[in-house]
Amino acid sequence: MADTASQTGTLTINVDGDPMPARPGEMLIAAAERGGVYIPRFCYHPRLRPVGMCRMCLVEVKGPRGFGLAPACFIPVADGQEVITRSDKVKKAQDGVLEFLLVNHPLDCPVCDKGGECPLQDQTLAYGPGETRFVEEKRHWAKPIALSDLVSLDRERCIQCDRCTRFADEVAGDPLIEFKGRGDHIEVATFPDQPFASYFSGNTVQICPVGALLSRPYRFKARPWDLEQVESTCTMCSVGCRIAVQSSGPELTRYIGLDSDPVNHGWLCDKGRYSYSYVNSPERLSHPLVRKSGEMVEASWGEALEAAARGLDGARSVHGAASLAVLGGARLANEDAYTWARLAKGVLRTDNVDAQLGDGLPAEVVLGLPRATIDDACSAPAVVLLAPDLKEELPVLYLRLRAAALEAGVPFVELTPRKTGMSRHCEASLAYRPGEAPALAKALVEGSASDVAGVPAASIATAHELLGVEGAVVVLGRPSLAESAGSIAAAAAILAGGLPGCRFLPALRRANVLGALDMGLAPGLLPGRVSLDAGRGWFTQAWGGTPEQRGLDAAGILGAAAEGRIQGLVLLGSDPLSDYPDRRLARAALAGAGFVVAVDTFLTASSGQADVVLPAAAFAERAGTTTNLEGRITRLGQKIVPPGVAWPDWMIAAELAFRLGADLGVESLEEIWQEIERVAPSHRGISRALLADRRHRDGVVAPLADGAPADLRPPPEAATGTGAGSTTAAVPAGVDPMSTPGVDSVETQGLPATDAAAATAPSGGVDPGPEGALDRDPEPSTPAPPPPMLTWAGDHSPPPLAPLDGYSLRLITGRTLYDSGSLVQHTPALASLAGASRLRANPYDLERLGRGQGGQVRVRSNRATFLAEAVPDAGVPRGSVWLPFDAGAGEISAGEVIDATVAVTDLRVETP
């Protein structure tokens, strides 16, 4: 498969008389394209296995019997190979294929969504014959049929290129659409009444080279020539897939996946792809709200900020800085997160700050362990999965790892309380008893003669064998929200100590959680992966002050709030009532918190209870940068303006600080970034100019390796402010309209991220200006050396674990892709897909209740008692029970029974 691996050509081929470098093993069509000779194609896609079916890429290749026609997409390059791409013979063959393709094509371009960005249309103009010689009756099919809730199919337009079906099978592993029939009766079809229910179905629409596959939410929404677009990064999860954000008028209309080689290879999950509509939601917060005599009423920014400042200042002056807390921030851009960190720790001087909501891992663990990238994992000698179901929580990471297992043969060892989407691709999938991850980790590194944590000794031996390598990569997250973070941290420490040279890839879900931690939104931390103690001096210099002692994490903050010890609470785009694992504690906390300020895009369960609500700009309404789970920093593009008077979060922080008597002295994203680069050790050298350089449009992973490679230093012209020129392409260089229809084939394309942002500055009047233009690197205000980045020694002691009594089942829980989160719920196309809350248990355990075929059961715990629909599931080990944390709206959540203070949660499951 042709890819953009930067390995340099070691062969030379001869195309139309010119020598051209080529890479061993690649196909002619790819080598020629890199060499500037574009060979037309339909079925070929650089990220799919070639099939050589459409025959559009026929060129003359010299063989033993002289030149003959051959498909460039299926001919591997060979040294000295002679190729002719322009000759009468080639032209006739290509014209012929196009004419054949149009024989049964309806030519209904005017009413086709693809019209204007259609490779068939474009290539017909470019290569096609003039008039049609076909006077016969065309093949007829009933017009669009639904393949799923998201995708419909117009069979008359299909050209049988096999792209969608190959994608579904090869890439997504969901072969739910197939060719049906033979010859010119071939149609793409699902099994009757079994829809194309794949988390990745939207990609088939994106790569369809004609208007056959249609996006149901997008249908007839816009015409390509009305679309403007800007390059950005999807922020529905922390994988950080690159996308082109497209808008028509004031609304977002579509996201298209861009091919970022280190990250998403052009693919998106459907949650990300269709999430644009929450931004357009009429329910977005557009004006500040202030509670007056119990009532939430609209207010001006001045009023609202005044009220917020008064409330926080009052609490501080009466109860001290330790009575203030900031919860959330993982959905903010880096610049927002930094400004809020500075407000909280530098101005309010509280360290009760946590971007995570008890569903992640301690910041020291995440930032202190040696880090790996996705590519590292995909080329590792072995990969350990100690994470939630990646297919559900980090879908495109799942695609990358699945491919690594299937194509690169990377061996995977999975530690999981239940079967996941990756299980079938793992050499060893070890189902352990919830809470016993540390014990199993220990057995894996040391080997064990006996069963551990319910895992047979034989399986442990296999895994132990596989892990006897240097440099394994551990994908680390929370396998179950009902197993305490401490338990997983302990397991991580054991693996870190026991697997030689291993590195970690965090599997934390929220979009910019790693950026937020880098920016210091966690207790005991300061920006740049610096511990509070190590960085106090440096940041007191930079900020004029820092918290006195280490503060509380989310659990601590909520606990304190419940006891009335938090008098001023800021909810930073966070909704603890829905997201914190222990729902009862969250409720008590919000009830007990004195004064609550919420910064949010929607009125959620939590922000609905606040005293002051400040409306924030959402995705694509503000520029900035975000950091994915690798630590990769990419730029966010702005395409539209926020609703009403909503502001970017950093502005809100700056204005609030001002009202609290502190001038942060930041007026633009550039200034904030320069400050970050100056004060945050992990971000040293990562200038705006560097990020603006087209060579880094895949982003830059922080921190830069010491003596970063040449191309990781700002190019001179960018440094002198003329760098804008290097960012004029809104999409990666050489995007092939055939592999990403809709991005390059549209005439009226959006401007580059930065200019676009400038062109449509939000009401707040922010003007980022051209990337790098303002990038000067003033002397750090202090000659003192920057503080060291923290490393994590690791705490091997797992939290105490109560024995499981014979009558109870141990709870496993986690999220599903289409959850009840406010973003999904405000995306009509997806909300309906959110599943019902079903309890899953091993058939054996249900059999004991006489519920072998499933049925209603009563669930009892010291927290709650409720009825649930039970489903037998061999993927759940005996003695455990699965209950989703976050199923569809109004569904029962495992959060109702989780007790955050203990390592695991046990339930009684009985017949009602």
């Binding site: 969901d174 197939e178 049906k180 079809a189 099994f191 009757p192 079994q194």
Partner: protein
């Protein structure tokens, strides 16, 4: 009519055992399913998919490539009249038209009583006896209008039952041996799942 019955699941397992890669047994198993119900019911297709760890869509898509598999009910007697070159030259189309009149249906249709489904076939490899036809894949030729009428009568009255089993029954001889050579491991092929274009 539903999923494969116990005996046929057993037959399916035996068929799978004959091949280095289970999916190779797909077509043989589909013939078994078609023998059971006369056509491929959705339930059977899903069941076959389970047995081979494929999706129903994969099985359905594959089956649809082959003319002998029907995903809609067919008559007890599938009459396939050849009209390809050798039969064309010897009155194949005239025979087909006669059959259409006799049975009162057009090619591709099934009689009200579900006795006959008539189809126009490609060369049946009996060109020495043109014009020819098959009934449930049992051969007859050369066929004259008169002999066709007789044949139709016999079939209706079940007088050819011994020679022409109900539609779907392909091979009435069962393989009675396993794979001693392979099980002996003397020539056990290592499975290489690659190798598709």
């Amino acid at each position: 009519m539903a999923r494969l019955n116990v005996e046929n699941v057993q037959r399916a397992r035996e068929l799978i055992a004959l091949y280095p890669v289970p999916r190779s047994a797909l077509i043989p198993i589909l013939h078994v399913a078609q023998e059971q119900d006369g056509w491929l019911t959705p339930e059977a297709v899903s069941h076959v998919a389970e047995l081979l760890d494929l999706t129903a869509a994969e099985v359905y898509g594959t089956a649809s490539f082959y003319d002998m598999f029907f995903t809609e009910p067919v008559g007890r007697h599938l009459v396939s009249v050849c009209t390809n070159i050798a039969c064309l030259l010897n009155g194949g189309y005239e025979l087909l038209e006669h059959a259409e009149q006799k049975l009162g249906i057009k090619a591709g249709a099934t009689t009200e009583d579900g006795e006959f489904t008539l189809e126009e076939a490609e060369c049946l490899a009996l060109c020495g006896a043109a014009p020819c036809l098959t009934v449930n894949w049992r051969f007859f030729g050369p066929v004259t209008p008169e002999s066709f009428d007789k044949l139709a009568g016999y079939l209706r009255d079940g007088e050819l039952a011994h020679q022409v089993p109900p539609h779907g029954t392909l091979c009435r001889v069962r393989r009675s041996v396993g794979l001693p050579a392979r099980s002996a491991g003397e020539a056990g092929p290592g499975v290489d799942s690659g190798g598709t274009a």
